[in-house]
């Protein structure tokens, strides 16, 4: 129970779909989702493989608690080698797709090889088939979703799909499920496209059980209550994640105009209050909040665009509601591109979901292009005549669409900031780690976040560590290595349970342990979860080292290391990464080159690479 104990392995080259028993030794060592998929990836492929080649594996993984009444149980992970970073990619999503995959009877879906022609995978419990997708190739995520449901006359099919961005190898193409949830980062959608796989559609009807149901439901009641009573959770429900934009603005940690500044004068036009306030024409952006499967938080926003706005005034197909602004989207289209037009931001967000792209990477790549443009390094002839100045809302939406459709300068933007800036001879303007663009927390104001970014196994990411509280209290680099490591390990475990990281503000590891212990085989304690997280982190590190990454990749762009923050609480500060990094390596039990020592591997039951 809890684990379905079954893996669905699809070889796209051969066109075969087979099941095999889940390796329970691995499940006991790596739980599920992120950790377990990483183990399967490590055992199944050479990390040195071309991310866009047929040798890469693409794994959709649920966790042991996915599909249960534990709050936020709708999570699944997409794990592969990422084409944006050439490192391990681990993207997490909610919605209803993951639970449906679990209900169909599978813990993991492993995709290997490359189909000779476009296909989609159709799963109804034990009935699994690869079907022709020639008529879907070239369609958007939204069109694909509707077409598959209609074809099978099955509105209960939950669909994860790529758009043209994924087909055309946009380096940060994502996999969108349930229309507006996404395994967003590191280009997992481009890997799916490289395999000629357009979509996975699943309708599961088998259900999920747990080992000790009465005990499990007792624990669940308690953890629900903890969430219900937590003021942080309340804020997530009422304001969504975008509440962070006001916090970061006040603090001076809000990356603005490609990180040239750390505060943005336009936040009042794009913050949660702006989302709820009618504009001059009486239009209100926000409609309601929505939950993913099994979630009692419901941070998701459902919004619509003013029909008179220039972006959609003659485009009725966008007059409907869809997923609205969350913080990272608001940050990446707003401050970092200098745009404060809430309808333009919302429209660009719709386009990301419709075409299947990561808004963070797109926004930060566009910001780099804007800086190149303002510095005269690229001109109107490069940009199809579009004025790429910071603050140009039209440039944002036009380029979002061009990138989604892989047209004109959109093809250049689809390279990601690192490759784009290298192409034009200014790699220093790419705000990335390991090739992946930053989330909305500036490392000069939040040094512990900076250390987390630099050491994150999937490149710059705000969801793999949490030194936020410590940074807000003390902006020095001292003492940040320890909370960075501890939170990285804890999050690696939480990401492997099937639950959402947004519970971690209200729960501590013992709450996860108690739920797992009631639900799963094996004795699950806080200590075991800490060690499981550390094992996962080190295995990801091993994957990256074998993929050719090194200490040199654990760094930040020169702007954050050398150019002091111009305003805010961190005025005059740079990120002092070096001192934190050596302390961090030591704490991790890695040598001075960032390689796990033999004792560390032994302690975590990991093997040195063959």
């Amino acid at each position: 129970m809890t684990w379905q104990r079954k893996v669905l392995r699809v070889n796209l080259t051969a066109g075969t779909c087979n099941t095999e028993p889940l390796n329970m030794d691995w499940a006991q060592a790596y739980l599920g989702e992120r950790g377990l998929a990483t183990k399967y990836l490590w055992e199944g492929m050479n990390p040195d493989t071309d991310a866009m080649g047929p040798g890469n594996m693409l794994i959709f993984a649920t966790g042991p608690l996915t599909g249960t009444m534990a709050s936020t149980s709708g999570r699944f992970a997409v794990v592969t080698k990422g084409p944006l970073t050439n490192a391990i990619a681990c993207s997490n999503s909610g919605g209803k797709f993951g639970a449906s995959l679990k209900f169909a009877g599978y813990d993991l879906l492993i995709l290997e090889g490359k189909s000779p022609t476009p296909v989609y995978l159709h799963i109804v419990d034990d009935e699994v088939s690869l079907l022709a997708a020639d008529d879907l190739w070239g369609k958007t995520v939204w069109e694909t979703d509707a077409a598959i449901q209609q074809k099978h006359q099955d509105p209960q099919l939950k669909i994860a799909a790529i758009g043209v961005a994924g087909e055309q190898g946009v380096r940060y193409a994502c996999v969108v499920n349930d229309l507006h949830r996404a395994a967003g980062r590191s280009g997992v959608g481009a890997v799916m496209g490289s395999k000629n796989l357009k979509a996975v559609a699943v309708h599961g009807t088998k259900g999920v059980g747990v080992d000790d149901m009465p005990r499990f439901m007792n624990v669940v009641k308690k953890t629900w209550k903890k969430l219900e009573e937590d003021p942080g959770r309340k804020q997530l429900t009422e304001l969504g994640t975008n509440a962070m934009i006001d916090t970061m603005q006040a603090f001076g940690g809000l990356p603005t105009r490609n990180f040239q500044q750390v505060q943005f004068e336009g936040t009042d036009n794009i913050n949660p209050e702006a989302m709820e306030t009618p504009n001059a024409r009486g239009h209100t952006n926000l409609i309601t909040n929505k939950a993913c499967f099994g979630c009692t938080i419901a941070c998701g926003r459902i919004a619509h665009i003013d029909q008179n706005h220039f972006t959609i005034v003659n485009r009725k197909e966008y007059w409907h509601a869809s997923g609205g602004l969350e913080y990272e989207t608001a940050y990446a289209f707003g401050p970092v591109c200098g745009v404060d037009d809430i309808d333009a931001l919302t429209f660009a967000g719709f386009l990301m979901n419709e075409h299947g792209m990561d808004p963070i990477s797109f926004g930060v790549t566009l910001a780099a292009a804007m800086e190149l443009y303002e510095k005269g390094i690229i001109t109107d002839t490069d940009t199809d005549g579009v004025k790429l100045n910071f603050g140009n809302a039209e440039a944002l939406t036009v380029m979002a669409e061009k990138t989604g459709k892989a047209e004109g300068f959109g093809r250049e933007l689809g390279l990601g900031a690192k490759r784009l800036c290298e192409k034009y001879g200014h790699p220093e303007l790419a705000m990335v780690v390991k090739g992946q663009e930053f989330a909305g927390y500036d490392s000069r104001a939040l040094p512990g976040m900076g250390l987390g970014y630099a050491t994150s196994n999937r490149g710059a990411c705000h969801l793999k560590h949490d030194v936020f509280t410590e940074d807000m209290q003390d902006q020095s680099a001292a003492g940040k290595a320890e909370p960075c490591k501890t939170s990285q390990d804890a999050i690696a475990t939480i990401d492997s349970t099937g639950l959402c990281l947004f519970t971690s503000g209200s729960w501590d590891l013992s709450d996860y342990a108690e739920q797992l212990d009631a639900a799963c085989e094996g004795h699950w304690t806080t200590e075991r979860l800490e060690q499981t997280g550390e094992r996962i982190w080190n295995l990801e590190r091993q994957f990256n080292l074998e993929a050719g990454l090194s200490k040199a990749d654990d760094t930040l762009p020169p702007r954050l290391l050398n150019e002091p923050a111009p305003s805010g609480t961190a005025k005059g500060r740079v990120c002092e990464l070096d001192t934190m990094l050596s302390e961090y390596y030591a704490l991790r039990g890695w040598d001075s080159n960032g390689i796990p020592t033999e004792q560390t591997l032994q302690r975590l039951n990991l093997q040195p690479p063959a």
Binding site: M69, L179, H180, G207, G209, M213, M217, E228, S322
Partner: protein, 140 residues
């Protein structure tokens, strides 16, 4: 007067806790596909509506059943399926104008909401108060 389930779509976040609680009560595991209550979503999630048997006065299912397998619970007013009598002919699923009686192919019998003998688990599980079990007058 018996109580009734009241649905307040504006409060529904589409988390499907109701479907899980229903399937847990009736099937012993989490399985929305076997839930007696369903949440329907419209326009990318703009609206989501929980929906189940209204326990209507007309009780078409009761009258349509040739084996008298659906009976009225005097205490709750719920129309309940007696599994031993149900032969799976599906006439009730056609008779119900609301589409809230469904055939379970795994058991060969129909399933429908029975108000959990007066303690509906969907209402208990709903985290936002979108499903409440109230006096019928209050629900009007």
């Amino acid at each position: 007067m018996p109580k009734a389930l009241q649905m307040i779509p504006d409060k529904c976040t589409s988390c499907l806790m109701c479907e899980m609680a229903c399937s847990l009560e009736n099937e012993g595991l989490f399985n929305p596909a076997k839930s007696r209550i369903k949440v329907f979503e419209f326009e990318h999630g703009r609206t989501s509506v929980p929906y189940t048997c209204t326990q209507c006065d007309e009780a078409w299912c009761v009258h349509a059943c040739p084996t008298k397998a659906i009976v009225i619970n005097k205490a709750t007013g719920a129309k309940e399926v007696i599994d031993d009598k149900c032969v799976g002919c599906k006439v009730c699923t056609m008779a119900c104008p609301y589409g809230t009686v469904n055939y379970n192919s795994a058991t060969g019998k129909v399933i429908k909401c029975d108000l959990c003998s007066g303690e509906p688990k969907c209402a208990e599980a709903c985290p936002t108060g979108a499903i409440v079990y109230v006096e019928q007058e209050a629900a009007l």
